[in-house]
């Protein structure tokens, strides 16, 4: 939900960045990396399900399937 509290978050976070120049990058890095890690872990589970491989191909519109053998479990 986007309400006033959502708008406040952006301002609070920018304030935190400006007041904590040595701290924010580490928090930001962990946040970005954790999202990519979650995606990898999810795809690992998905490819083991029936039709999972095909779903991944559709999801990312992969035409160059040969280059993604590891991802697809081939």
């Amino acid at each position: 939900m986007r309400d006033k509290t959502h708008d406040d978050f952006i301002e609070r976070w920018v304030k935190f960045m400006k007041e904590n120049p040595d701290k924010w990058r580490d928090i930001h890095t962990r946040f970005i990396n954790s999202q990519l890690q979650m995606n990898r872990e999810f795809l690992e589970r998905l490819k083991k399900t029936p039709g999972g491989r095909e779903k991944i191909i559709k999801l990312y519109d992969i035409k160059n399937v040969g280059a993604y053998k590891g991802l697809l479990g081939d």
């Binding site: 301002e11 930001h28 990396n33 990519l36 990312y60 035409k63 160059n64």
Partner: protein
């Protein structure tokens, strides 16, 4: 395969490696969401948008070959001639990822009009991002997000950029860019 470098997030590492190869062949700029994320915006993304100056097919084949050698793959295919003719030349994006990983991806396309030309003319480096790469200017990014893209996510990106770079924002430049967007893109 985990490819992160300890003090770089994975998106930054991916982007720096990719830009380092592309810049040997042509001029490029990174635009849109990644500019906000590299500037500290806390949100997810699946892709990084890159605009490059058009190049001939021979140059593209060389650049593509070097990208492959360095662990990148184009999701749309393997034949560089087809990738060039069917996508880049048609003003469509080519999508590159690290081999065997669907994310993150770099969406690379040729510049197409006077607005893109202006983005190259006003490109800048942003020391706060801690990345030695070329970005379209903060003013341009704000104008695109507020005038053309307009989703909640884009409006939040623009707000973040306005707050972070408050001392450098040039409202006249943003207005000028918004006029150009109306002329060339709307």
């Amino acid at each position: 395969m985990k490819r992160s470098i300890s003090d770089l997030n994975e998106l930054k590492d991916f982007c720096i490696r990719f830009c380092g190869i592309v810049e040997r062949y042509t001029e490029y700029i990174i635009v849109s969401g990644f500019v906000a994320i590299a500037s500290g915006r806390v949100r997810g993304t699946e892709d990084i948008d890159m605009i490059i100056r058009p190049m001939n097919i021979e140059q593209f084949i060389k650049m593509h070959g070097e990208l492959l050698k360095n662990g990148f793959n184009a999701m749309q295919g393997t034949d560089p001639k087809e990738l060039y003719e069917d996508y880049l030349k048609d003003k469509l994006s080519l999508r590159y990822t690290f081999k065997d990983e669907p994310l993150p991806e770099m969406e690379m396309k040729f510049s197409k009009d006077a607005l893109d030309e202006y983005q190259f003319k006003t490109k800048e480096k942003l020391p706060l991002t801690n990345m030695d790469i070329w970005y379209s200017s903060i003013n341009m990014n704000i104008a695109f997000k507020e005038e053309l893209l307009k989703s909640h996510k884009d409006m939040d990106d623009a707000r973040h950029l306005r707050l972070i770079y408050s001392e450098e924002i040039d409202e006249k430049e943003i207005m000028k860019t918004k006029q150009m967007i109306k002329r060339y893109r709307l």
